[in-house]
């Protein structure tokens, strides 16, 4: 777990990427404030998704390279607990900083301040889900060739989170209650939390032996 604080430079990469992608939207689409306010929640969610996806690549690779993973598989403690801890550390490194800079992005899209709480809540629920599901696929593709494979595999899994997460913010935007979206997101988070560490452990076993 101490390994999680290894390279602060690496830790910043997803956050920087998040900000950059977010800022690409106004650059590409023009700075009409109404347009930006309209696409803002969705764009921020996309940026978050891509940032998490990017951070996955280094999730297990260095562990694989320095033999840490092999040792992990030998420890008598149940693997999924160790994996769970590892993933939590990873989220604290990537998801949490993303949440912290989200207000900056929200401002760059000119989003109504009222949207900020629901945006943060949705991202807080959603980014762990994205991370967990992505980790499963990252573990599966650990020993395979082809870099774009991970993105292809992960896209179907990300759809519900994106729909509910982005939908929650848009609900508030249109003056409705985000309760439905958020509770579904929460349910998704709970279920993923329960089964994903096991799935990641299984996937790791498949990849490493």
């Amino acid at each position: 777990m101490l390994g999680a604080v290894r390279q602060p430079g690496d830790a910043l990469a997803p956050v920087v990427f998040y900000l950059i992608v977010g800022m690409l939207f106004p650059l590409a689409l023009g700075s009409d404030p109404r347009l930006l306010a309209q696409i803002g929640p969705g764009a921020i969610w996309i940026a978050a998704l891509l940032a998490v996806l990017l951070s996955l690549h280094k999730l297990f690779r260095s562990d694989l390279d320095n033999g840490y993973l092999d040792q992990l598989l030998l420890i008598p403690c149940p693997l999924f607990l160790l994996i769970g801890a590892r993933l939590l550390a990873h989220w604290l490194q990537t998801g949490l900083p993303m949440l912290l800079v989200t207000p900056l992005l929200a401002e760059s899209f000119g989003l109504d301040y009222a949207l900020l709480p629901v945006l943060l809540a949705a991202l807080a629920l959603g980014t762990p889900v994205l991370l967990l599901l992505g980790a499963i696929n990252e573990a599966l593709t650990l020993t395979s060739r082809g870099g774009a494979l991970l993105a292809l595999l992960v896209l179907p899994l990300y759809v519900p989170t994106l729909v509910f997460g982005s939908g929650a913010v848009y609900a508030v935007h249109f003056g409705e209650s985000p309760a439905g979206h958020l509770s579904l997101l929460a349910a998704l988070a709970l279920v993923t939390l329960l089964f994903a560490p096991w799935a990641v452990a299984t996937a790791l076993r498949i990849s490493i032996d």
């Binding site: 696929n137 599966l140 896209l155 179907p156 759809v159 729909v163 509910f164 609900a171 498949i206």
Partner: protein, 269 residues
């Protein structure tokens, strides 16, 4: 009980299944082709034009069976993948691997025919409703599974990885369908009713069901061939297989099922 166990043991061995697949093949393909022929005839010629949609609705006779097949093939793939993951039965892995490309091609067909139906009817090639989105995601899942298998060199590892992915996908597709549908009903109640299928007159429904059944049998026929190819591929160095083919070809009457098949006329698909 031990009879069942023995039977199961035999069935799950590639060596025993190989001739069974060959024997089953004609029982699948011939009814399939007959049903497809009859269904096509009924659907294209005999059934009356639709009151609202005119003749373009006839696409439904290939679109619906293709969509149905895309989901059934996924179930076959996911279940066999899971069996391989848990019980390590090699034949299950071959079945899962065989089902994937068939399913993918029919998913593509479902999407394409759906667009061809949608364009003249509702003016658009595509719409992000629950059904179409789920079908598109299904295509990605298929492609992802096939790609994953190709990207992992070790056969066993590839099979297990694909098995796990298949399971995850199987859970995922209903969730996606539900999530998009739920989101739709909040925002676009009108669109949902646009795509709901009207109740069908028997002159249209019966050919549709026959086509669906024909597609299903066709799937199993092709699956049998692919399984045999898969077995040949995997077991090519085993003794039972070389014993089978190193002998004079005249003795292998059953196994020339494929040869007969290629000669059959397929002009009415």
């Amino acid at each position: 009980m031990s009879v069942i166990k023995e039977y199961w043991h035999k069935l799950s061995s590639a060596k025993h299944f190989y001739p069974i697949a060959g024997a089953l093949l004609p029982w699948f393909i011939i009814p399939a082709l007959l049903m497809l022929a009859w269904g096509s005839w009924q659907g294209l010629v005999v059934a009356p034009a639709d009151y609202q949609q005119g003749d373009s609705y006839r696409i439904i006779f290939v679109h619906v069976p293709a969509a149905w097949l895309s989901m059934m093939a996924y179930m076959v793939m996911a279940i066999n993948g899971a069996i391989y993951l848990v019980w390590k039965i090699k034949l299950a892995d071959i079945v899962a691997e065989s089902a994937a490309p068939i399913g993918a091609s029919f998913t593509f067909l479902a999407l394409a025919t759906g667009s061809l139906w949608g364009k003249p009817m509702w003016g658009t090639w595509w719409v992000w409703d629950a059904r179409l989105t789920s079908e598109l995601v299904l295509l990605f899942l298929y492609l992802g599974t096939i790609a994953l298998r190709g990207a992992i060199d070790d056969r066993q590892r590839a099979g297990r990885a694909a098995g796990l992915l298949g399971l995850i996908g199987a859970i995922n597709v209903p969730i996606i369908h539900f999530s998009v549908e739920w989101w739709e009903t909040l925002h676009q109640p009108a669109t949902v009713s646009k795509f709901s299928a009207p109740s069908m007159h028997p002159s249209m429904l019966i050919p549709l069901l026959v086509m669906a059944l024909g597609f299903t049998l066709f799937f199993f026929a092709v699956l049998m061939i692919k399984i045999r190819a898969g077995i040949l591929e995997q077991e090519r160095h085993s003794r039972w297989l070389s014993a089978l083919y190193a002998e004079a070809p005249e003795t292998t009457a059953t196994y020339s099922a494929e040869g007969n098949l290629a000669a059959m006329d397929e002009s009415n698909e």
